[in-house]
């Protein structure tokens, strides 16, 4: 994973997501966020094994989705009623990361 932007923002996102899970009181939302946490951790593991070309469309999309997801998590930590919005953004980030990983396989 020579391109550091994505890996760094992804690990930061997982740390923040852990905080959000701990802050969320709603059990269903909490469970949903936990599932996404697992998926993102797997993606981080997969990305470390790959050489990620930063100039591809998939990379840019994945990076943008992670940045958006990160912002949504930070908002939701401040106000946990926004957790549903974070779940949606996270799903997009997971999907974009999956596409990138498939491309690199």
């Amino acid at each position: 994973m020579p391109e550091e932007v994505l890996g760094t923002s992804l690990s930061k996102m997982i740390v923040d997501l852990t905080d959000l899970i701990l802050a969320t009181k709603n059990p269903a939302k909490k469970e949903e966020l936990r599932k996404q946490h697992k998926k993102l951790t797997k993606k981080l593991q997969a990305l470390i094994d790959k050489t990620v070309p930063a100039d591809t469309e998939e990379y840019k999309k994945a990076n943008a989705a992670v940045v958006e997801g990160n912002m949504a998590i930070k908002e939701a930590i401040k106000d946990t009623s926004q957790a549903a919005g974070a779940v949606t953004k996270l799903a997009k980030a997971i999907s974009a990361l999956a596409k990138l990983i498939v491309l690199l396989a």
Partner: protein
């Protein structure tokens, strides 16, 4: 003739007396509602005691495991973990002390359960010895029971058996609950704090603090382009370990702390319940409220 009538009268009086005792004494045993209250309470206490004990061992192991990662990631530094003290404050002794306390809680539940559920004096005696031993083995700061009270428990249980077994068992339950209530409350207070992640320098807080530190250190390695592939692979494994442990805060640690707090509340209700001749609906509601919260927490723990 007069003598004969007198004798007959006396025999009749004794017979009536015996019949009355036979009719009244079984009724002096625990009522169904009291038995249910004791059973619900004891099963919850036993589960929490066991779970808390296992979790103490787990937290210690995880602190060591996370510190192994820290040494691998950052090496031995002044700020890092000491190779001689990889378990930090979660030492074998500190863990064992707390496990004595959870064992005492478990034994308390098991003895009450034996008294309510079995008529086998051997089982009751075994559970009673286990409780008294577990109280005696408690480290000083966990002890809050006099020798006099411990003797009273042993004495109450020696008497269990014979034809008035239900009445004697009820008396034994009352004696145990009354004589141990301060000790149980004390154990609950200390253990609750140990599992409270927000009470600084306590067991769970230290464990979670190690997870926070490992998160930061692993994240720095993951984000550092100068680090090798092997170093970053290790950092990701460390990072995952740290996140898993951080997430145990509300999945395991907090429910255990809350459950222990509820055991204390429910035990206070139990004291009222076994001492009350009129165990009212209000008493049952109060006890069941605490037990419901306790059982909900146990369900969460069972899914861990």
């Amino acid at each position: 003739m007069k003598e004969n009538v007198k004798k007959k009268h006396a025999v009749l009086q004794v017979m009536v007396g015996l019949l009355l005792m036979a009719a009244v004494l079984p009724g002096c045993g625990l009522t169904m509602a009291q038995k249910k209250a004791v059973t619900d309470f004891t099963s919850a206490t036993t589960v929490v005691g066991k779970t808390a004990s296992a979790e103490l061992a787990n937290m210690r192991e995880e602190v060591i495991s996370m510190n192994v990662y820290r040494v691998q990631l950052i090496g031995v530094t002044n700020d890092g973990p000491s190779l001689k003290k990889m378990d930090e404050q979660c030492t074998v002794e500190a863990t064992a002390e707390r496990q004595c306390a959870t064992e005492a809680l478990k034994s308390y539940g098991e003895l009450l359960q034996a008294l309510v559920e079995t008529d086998q004096t051997e089982n009751i005696k075994k559970s009673s010895d286990a409780l008294v031993d577990s109280f005696k083995e408690l480290p000083e700061k966990y002890q809050n029971i006099s020798q006099e009270k411990l003797d009273a428990i042993g004495k109450a249980l020696q008497a269990v058996g014979g034809i008035w077994v239900e009445w004697k068992k009820a008396e034994a339950v009352k004696t145990i609950v009354n004589n141990t209530s301060a000790q149980i409350a004390h154990l609950c207070d200390l253990l609750k704090d140990d599992f409270d992640p927000f009470v600084k320098s306590k067991f769970a807080a230290q464990y979670l603090n190690t997870a926070e530190i490992l998160t930061r250190e692993a994240d720095e390695v993951i984000s550092n382009p100068k680090k090798s592939f092997e170093e970053r692979t290790l950092a990701i494994a460390a990072f995952q370990k740290a996140q898993e442990n951080r997430l145990r805060r509300d999945k395991i640690v907090v429910p255990i702390s809350a459950s222990i707090g509820k055991i204390k509340d429910a035990n206070n209700e139990l004291v009222k319940a076994v001492n009350s001749t009129e165990f009212t609906e209000k008493d049952i509601v109060a006890l069941q409220k605490n037990l419901k919260i306790l059982n909900d927490a146990i369900k969460v723990l069972a899914k861990k």
